[in-house]
């Protein structure tokens, strides 16, 4: 490695086997006290259902269990270890104040089966977060129920379908740009709409003429991500909304990239009728394995009758309650009222930042993406030169000449102590490198990242094979993803 960047190395425990392989007969991590109640004859009680053979469960001691899982935890990569530039995922820092608030006793120990009378605090949290998200998005009503982004998309499109149905015609199709997240066409299909592809223009934006030509009374909605997956703001968004509305269609906004807009522009003001947010992206709740997610859907008044039940309302005596009597509702989309723990964290984030803080967050996220763009322009090909918002998309065109593709560069990045960026997406950029630093990263961390990416580009020129064989510093190197997909081994079996 020519320019070894200064990053922590991990994977200190290289040879941890499966817990089954540590097993030896008779070991146990527990000891029960003597039986002080009458023994039950399980055979008589259960008959043929009694199971005597417990199968091949691992028999290990307590310290072996502790070491096993602690060692495996060191193989993990997390935002708490370093930059996580996974484009389109907004892997931002999860502030500790969120966790502090979520652990307040009354909140942490609340139960959804508590009577409403003693759940007023929880209902108040739901109501306050709802109001603040409505203000941030410029929309008019909201449900917090959906458990993640794609679930929010589905809930949103169910409301779109119900809206059109109430007007006598559910319509047939959803328009989706070729730069869209894969979940968008999947959602449209799940909600029984046909998908029609919309081509991007040379700026990477929706082609207005193509949209006007494809728009007709069969189109229920356009699903648009703004800024789109190239990190480019759809400058003609008002025109797009007008074209849809003129033919009775609705504008759905995928809010995955809301981190570029909060405090600056409001989707409700630029013609959006339905949108989902990802609390686990924009609003700093844990994303990925730290889950669960949360994908609220905000809407305009015209769609309010179709909101999932229940909806929080204020009763005449001033107390809060869930309302279930909504005859036009699309129904319940999640047990209870969604992932409440995430509402607490998102609200803590919004309150801790305040309006000016949120605006600053957006500005810093855009500034950081542009800092990385400037730092790597020339080293990596930039297929679209349109101004970058919160993420930047390069291509592997220059490195492909040496046979090195985006996935290889991403694997090599692991050796430098970074999580890979998003590879091969958006689909309209062949060999895409999609980088989103978020506002969380300092200039120093981004300098390390830029240095690492430049160093890899040099390695591609000097020793492409070394990059093709990366990663070199991890416990295992390239996994055979093809064999895993073609011939999956789904369970471990003892070697005996």
């Amino acid at each position: 490695m020519k320019h070894l960047t200064r990053k922590a190395t991990r994977h200190v425990n290289q040879n941890e086997g499966l817990i089954f392989e540590k097993s030896s007969p008779g070991k146990a991590a527990w000891k029960l006290p003597p039986l002080d109640v009458p023994e039950v004859d399980t055979a008589a009680l259960l008959g043929a259902s009694e199971r005597k053979d417990l199968g091949n469960l691992p028999e290990v001691s307590e310290i072996e269990i502790i070491r096993h899982f602690t060692r495996m935890s060191t193989w993990n990569y997390a935002i708490d270890l370093g930059m996580y530039p996974l484009g389109s995922c907004t892997m931002k820092y999860n502030p500790r104040v969120n966790e502090a608030v979520a652990r307040v006793e009354g909140i942490a120990n609340g139960h959804p089966y508590q009577p409403e009378k003693i759940s007023q605090g929880a209902l108040h949290i739901i109501k306050t977060l709802s109001e603040q998200l409505i203000e941030i998005t410029g929309m008019e009503a909201i449900t917090l129920q959906p458990a993640a982004g794609a679930h929010g998309e589905m809930t949103g499109l169910l409301m779109v379908r119900a809206y059109h149905q109430s007007k006598g015609n559910a319509r047939k199709k959803i328009l989706i740009p070729d730069s869209a997240h894969g979940t968008n066409p999947a959602t449209a299909a799940m909600v029984n709409y046909a998908v029609e592809n919309l081509k991007s223009d040379s700026r990477g934006m929706v082609d207005i003429a193509a949209l006007a030509a494809q728009m007709n009374e069969d189109v229920a909605a356009l699903m648009l991500t703004n800024p789109n997956t190239l990190g480019v703001f759809e400058q003609d968004i008002h025109k797009i909304a007008d074209i849809l509305h003129a033919k009775g269609g609705l504008l759905y906004m995928d809010g995955a990239n809301m981190n570029a807009l909060v405090g600056k522009v409001r989707p409700g003001d630029f013609g959006v009728d339905v949108m989902h947010l990802n609390l686990h992206k924009t609003f700093s709740t844990p994303h990925g394995g730290g889950g669960p997610g949360s994908g609220p859907v905000a809407i305009k008044k015209a769609l309010e009758p179709f909101l999932p039940t229940p909806v929080v309302l204020t009763k005449s005596d001033g107390t809060l309650a869930f309302e279930y009597n909504r005859p036009q509702s699309v129904g319940r989309v999640r047990a209870f009222y969604g992932n409440f723990g995430m509402f607490v964290r998102a609200l803590a984030y919004i309150q801790a930042n305040g309006p000016d803080g949120l605006r600053q967050t957006t500005e810093d996220a855009v500034l950081n993406a542009n800092y990385i763009r400037k730092g790597l322009e020339g080293t990596y090909d930039l297929p679209y030169s349109t101004p970058t918002m919160h993420e930047v998309v390069f291509s592997d065109k220059l490195q492909a000449k040496k046979g090195v593709r985006t996935m290889d560069i991403a694997k090599r990045l692991i050796d430098y102590g970074f999580h890979p960026y998003t590879t091969a997406f958006p689909l309209i950029v062949p060999g895409a490198l999609m980088i989103e630093p978020t506002e969380s990263e300092s200039k120093e961390e981004m300098d390390l990242f830029i240095e690492a990416m430049k160093s890899i580009a040099e390695e591609v020129e000097e020793d492409p094979q070394m990059v093709l064989d990366a990663p070199h510093s991890t416990r295992v190197s390239r996994l055979d993803e093809t064999a895993a997909a073609r011939k999956p081994v789904l369970r471990w079996k003892p070697t005996v």
Binding site: G182, K397, A424, P430, E481, T482, A485, R486
Partner: protein, 129 residues
């Protein structure tokens, strides 16, 4: 890569080889190369009706799932069952690994598709090489 001249090509990267009123359909070398290692090929059953320009199946690689677009309208008479268990054959020999055979509804539909030379030119522009 030189593309076989005994067939026509679509801008969605399928090839179609016509023999009278029947035809054989597959995906191009460029398509398999862009997709990477193919792990799953899903095609319709015998008897299914295909409409020119509409999707009729999917190809899944470790990178992405892509739709298959019908180069011409017609009825499926045979599917390549081998690809269900050995999808890697498409990577090894895209132009030899057909996916479906059709009875064409209107054989002249194929005339509007790209020739091998035109397709090669199209791919060169698309990939920017």
């Amino acid at each position: 890569m030189s593309y076989p001249t005994d067939r026509k090509y679509t801008k969605e990267h399928e090839w179609i080889q016509v023999n009278g009123s029947s035809a054989t359909v597959g995906i191009t070398h460029y398509a398999q190369e862009s997709l990477g290692d193919i792990v799953f090929v899903e095609v319709p059953k015998v008897g299914a009706e295909l409409t020119a320009g509409k999707t009729f199946g999917t190809v899944e690689s470790v990178k992405a799932v892509s739709d298959l677009f019908a180069p011409a309208s017609g009825t499926v008479t045979e599917v390549n069952a081998e690809l269900a268990t050995s999808p890697e054959k498409v990577n090894k020999d895209a132009h030899g690994s057909w996916m479906v055979k059709l009875t064409l509804k209107n054989p002249s539909e194929v005339d509007g598709l790209l020739s091998a030379a035109d397709y090669e030119k199209f791919v060169a522009e698309e990939s920017g090489h």
